[in-house]
Amino acid sequence: MSYFRITLMRSGIGMPQKTQGVLKALGLKKRMTTVYHPVTQSVAGQIMRIKELVDVKEVKRALTPAEQKAARRPAPGYYVESRAAQAMKDWE
């Protein structure tokens, strides 16, 4: 089953109330939020109503919010090589 990946590229501020309602129904709260919805007629119709504001792509799998957050996070860039407590124990 495939999914629509919908990203809000332009804000819904200043749009008619109906358009903002569609954004709310899809779960797009602020710019650059990404949501995944299954490929269905109803979702396609909702996307048609806000097509000027969003970027849409069809993907195989929906990412969970946790996965999306993990994908944004940079690598820590360090690892602990030796612990001071352990080193003291070894020295004694």
Binding site: T34, K57, P74, A75, G77, Y78, A84
Partner: protein
């Protein structure tokens, strides 16, 4: 009784016979109890051929819930604000030519990234991080393994510029190979700032609320910052290549 019924039947038959055939009757609006449903039998041909008709192809398409086979295949998910860290693994001709020159010069600096933020450091530097590093204590030794620049007085080895994220791919950040250098940092201690006092006021109230806060920051000292020579680097690469070969064989 039976006689009466027979006469009635006869009368009915007579009236039917007396009526002219239906084609000769004057044209009138038909009032029937028969329903005019959209069956193919009673819908004219041009209407069936019109665009309003739902073809079997379209029915299949809507039923299967996927796009047509000609549509591009759905890609693997990656959001536009995702980030991909790319650490180079290969030795390039420029590294082969210029690493000896870089290595021959005495002191080096590096741009090291911790949680994606760059810090320009040399050996002996004290770095007060802008956060309290979790799960470390003073005396612990950290290895820093994400660098974008290695420089000396005259030469700089740079990683490629990061590529901005688009709708098709996330941000790509390139780092130098972590086997090119060794950077060790010791956790020296935890720094604190002076107590902050924020005054919270409300209108038409004489009372002022004071909010106190005191942040803590981890302090690191760069104890070792070395760039490997070309020979050492090639040995490491060769050793890893052999190791990988064995792993694949086994």
């Amino acid at each position: 009784m039976a006689l009466l019924a027979r006469t009635a039947r006869k009368a009915l038959l007579e009236t039917r016979a007396s009526l002219p055939p239906t084609c000769l009757l004057p044209l009138r609006a038909h009032i029937t109890t028969q329903s005019h449903t959209l069956e193919t039998g009673n819908v004219p041909d041009p209407l069936i051929q019109s665009g309003q008709r739902v073809s079997s192809d379209l029915k299949d398409k809507t039923a299967s819930r996927t796009l047509s086979p000609r549509a591009p295949t759905p890609s693997t998910p990656s959001s536009p604000n995702a980030r991909l860290d790319v650490v180079s693994k290969q030795i390039t001709p420029s590294i082969r030519n210029l690493l000896p020159l870089l290595h021959s010069q005495p002191s080096h600096y590096m741009t090291l990234h911790i949680h994606g933020r760059p810090y320009l450091l040399t050996r002996g530097d004290t770095l007060r991080l802008p956060f309290l590093m979790p799960h470390v204590k003073p005396g612990d030794v950290l290895r820093l393994n994400r660098a974008t620049h290695i420089g000396s007085r005259d030469y700089t080895l740079k990683a490629p510029e990061p590529i901005k994220g688009t709708a098709d791919h996330g941000k790509k950040v390139f780092y130098l190979d972590e086997r090119l250098f060794t950077v060790r940092a010791r956790v020296v201690g935890i720094d604190t700032e002076p107590m902050r006092v924020e005054e919270k006021t409300k209108r038409r109230q004489r009372h002022t609320k004071h909010v106190y806060s005191k942040m803590r920051f981890t302090v690191l000292k760069i104890s070792e910052l070395e760039v490997k020579s070309l020979q050492e680097y090639e040995e490491v690469l060769k050793g890893e290549g052999e190791g990988e070969g064995q792993a694949t064989e086994a």
